[in-house]
C-alpha cells in the first residue's frame, strides 16, 4: 500500500456500521474501499445526498445528480435527496457521525486550517466550516508532512477553518487523538519510530502508555 492507502485503510477502521459519514475531496474518498467486512456506512454529500452511491453507466445522470465536488454522483437504494438548508441542518445539528477531511495545517489544540492560503489560493470554505463544527467526530486524514515540512503544528499559521474541532489525526506515520491535555499518539506505524514522528511534527505530543501498532 502507498501512503494514501495506508491512511485511508486506517481511517476506515474508525467508521462504525450505520454511521452517517461525510468525506472531503481527495484522499478521504478512498476510505470506503477499505471498510472492514460487515461495516456499512451511509455517505452524505453536502450538496444534497444522503446515501451517495458509486456512479455506473446505468445510474449516471450528471445533469441532475452530482457530489459536492461537482462530479457525477448517484443515490443508493434507500437514500434521499435534500436541499442545502436541510443538508446543513443535518450537518450543524450533529446528525453526521464522522467527517473525514484533509488539512493544510492542524495544531495541537485541534484547530484546523484547510481552506485558504491568503494571497495565493482562495478557493473558499464551501461546507468545511459547518462540517467540522457540526460532525460528532472530525478526522483529519493526510500525509504527515508536505515536502518534508510539518503540517501538525503547535499553532496553525493559516486562517482557521474552525477552532478546537479536530478529534483525530491519521497519517501514514501514526494516529493522534486530540485530548484536553494535547495530542496523544495512540498508534505508530511499524515503518517509523517515535523519533521519526517527533522529527516530522512541530506540535508537542504525548505517547500513549498503551501505544499500539498501526495497521
Amino acid at each position: 500500500m502507498d501512503k494514501k492507502e495506508i491512511i485511508a485503510a486506517r481511517v476506515a477502521k474508525e467508521l462504525k456500521n450505520g454511521d452517517l459519514v461525510n468525506l472531503g475531496i481527495g484522499l478521504p474518498t478512498m476510505v470506503p474501499n477499505f471498510l472492514p467486512e460487515g461495516v456499512r456506512v451511509t455517505l452524505q454529500s453536502e450538496n444534497g445526498i444522503i446515501g451517495a452511491d458509486t456512479v455506473t453507466d446505468e445510474n449516471r445522470d450528471e445533469w441532475y445528480v452530482v457530489d459536492a465536488g461537482g462530479r457525477p454522483s448517484a443515490v443508493a437504494p434507500g437514500g434521499s435527496f435534500i436541499d442545502s438548508s436541510v443538508s446543513f441542518s443535518l450537518i450543524r445539528g450533529g446528525h453526521v457521525d464522522v467527517t473525514v477531511l484533509g488539512a493544510l495545517e492542524v495544531d495541537q489544540e485541534g484547530n484546523l486550517s484547510n481552506w485558504i492560503i491568503p494571497g495565493k489560493k482562495v478557493p473558499g470554505m464551501g461546507g468545511a466550516m459547518d462540517l467540522v463544527v457540526g460532525a460528532k467526530k472530525v478526522i483529519v486524514a493526510m500525509e504527515h508532512t508536505v515536502k518534508g515540512s510539518p503540517k501538525i503544528l503547535k499553532k496553525c499559521t493559516l486562517p482557521y477553518t474552525a477552532v478546537h474541532c479536530v478529534t483525530d489525526i491519521i497519517t501514514e506515520m501514526c494516529v493522534f487523538k486530540v485530548t484536553k491535555d494535547g495530542l496523544l499518539m495512540t498508534e505508530l506505524h511499524p515503518d517509523y519510530t517515535v523519533s521519526n514522528v517527533r522529527a516530522a511534527t512541530d506540535a508537542e505530543f504525548i505517547v500513549s502508555s498503551q501505544l499500539q501498532r498501526m495497521a
Binding site: 445522470d61 441532475y64 445528480v65 452530482v66 465536488g69 461537482g70 436541499d83 442545502s84 438548508s85 473558499g124
Partner: protein, 229 residues
C-alpha cells in the same frame, strides 16, 4: 400563480446592476437557458449570489457551465459564494481587481437566504466562530453569547431577482426538482423580489401531486418553459 413568459421576456425582467440569486451547485441546478441568454445580453454589473461560480467545463465537455458563463463574460462585479476554486477565472478577475468576492460558509449562506425569505432578523450559528469570517461585517452583525455558547449573528440575505431551475413545473408554477438540483433553489425561491423559474418540463396542474410540490407557486412569479418536454 405564476405567469408564463418567453426567454426574451425573462431577460427583460433582469435589470442591469441587479442583485441576483442563482440556484445551483457547481452548475447542477443552474437555469441553463436563462443564464445562457443572459450571458449573450449586454447586461451586467450584477451582484451574483450563488453557492459557487460553477466550472469551466460541464457535462458532455460543454464550455463554461452554468453561471461560469456570466463570470467569463465579465457581467458580475460582485460574487457572494461559498467556494470558487473550480472556476479559475474567479481568482484571475479577483486578482485583477475587477471582481469582488465575498465568501460565506455554505450552511450559513443557506440559512441567511432562508432567514430573509422567512422574515427572520438573522441567523445564530456556531460556524465561523474563531475564524476570519467574524471580520466580515457586511454579513456578520455581531458575536452573541447564548448561555455560555458563542455564535455569530449572520444577517439575512435578500436579492432583487432569483433565477431557479425546476425539472417539472406545473402550469400554476409549482416546482418539482430532480436529483441534487434542488440545492439552493429551494431557499432562493423565498428570498427575492422577483422569482423566475426555468422549467425543463412544463406539466399540467395536478401532475405534480400536492404532497410532492417542493416550491409552491406562491413563491414563483414567472416561469420560462425551457422546452425539453
Amino acid at each position: 400563480m405564476a405567469t408564463f413568459i418567453s426567454l426574451s421576456q425573462a431577460i427583460e425582467k433582469i435589470p442591469d446592476g441587479a442583485t441576483i440569486m442563482f440556484g445551483g451547485f457547481m452548475g447542477c441546478g443552474n437555469a441553463h437557458k436563462i443564464i445562457d441568454a443572459l450571458s449573450k445580453s449586454k447586461k451586467g454589473n450584477f451582484t451574483m449570489i450563488c453557492n459557487d461560480a460553477a466550472m469551466l467545463n460541464g457535462p458532455g465537455g460543454s464550455e463554461y457551465y452554468g453561471v461560469a458563463k456570466l463570470i467569463h463574460n465579465r457581467q458580475v462585479k460582485k460574487l457572494i459564494a461559498t467556494h470558487v476554486g473550480l472556476n479559475p477565472e474567479v481568482a484571475e478577475q479577483m486578482n485583477a481587481g475587477t471582481l469582488e468576492v465575498a465568501l460565506i460558509p455554505q450552511g450559513s449562506l443557506a440559512e441567511m437566504i432562508r432567514a430573509a425569505g422567512a422574515g427572520m432578523g438573522g441567523v445564530l450559528t456556531p460556524t465561523g466562530i474563531g475564524t476570519i469570517v467574524e471580520d466580515n461585517k457586511e454579513f456578520v452583525h455581531s458575536e452573541v453569547d447564548i448561555d455560555g455558547e458563542r455564535y455569530l449573528l449572520m444577517r439575512p440575505l435578500h436579492a432583487d431577482i432569483a433565477i431557479l431551475s425546476g425539472y417539472q413545473i406545473d402550469k400554476a408554477g409549482n416546482i418539482w426538482y430532480k436529483g441534487t438540483t434542488r440545492n439552493f433553489n429551494l431557499v432562493m425561491a423565498t428570498a427575492a423580489d422577483v422569482v423566475i423559474a426555468e422549467a425543463d418540463h412544463v406539466v399540467e396542474i395536478g401532475e405534480i401531486m400536492p404532497e410532492n410540490v417542493m416550491t409552491s407557486s406562491a413563491y414563483v412569479d414567472y416561469v420560462f418553459d425551457g422546452g425539453n418536454a
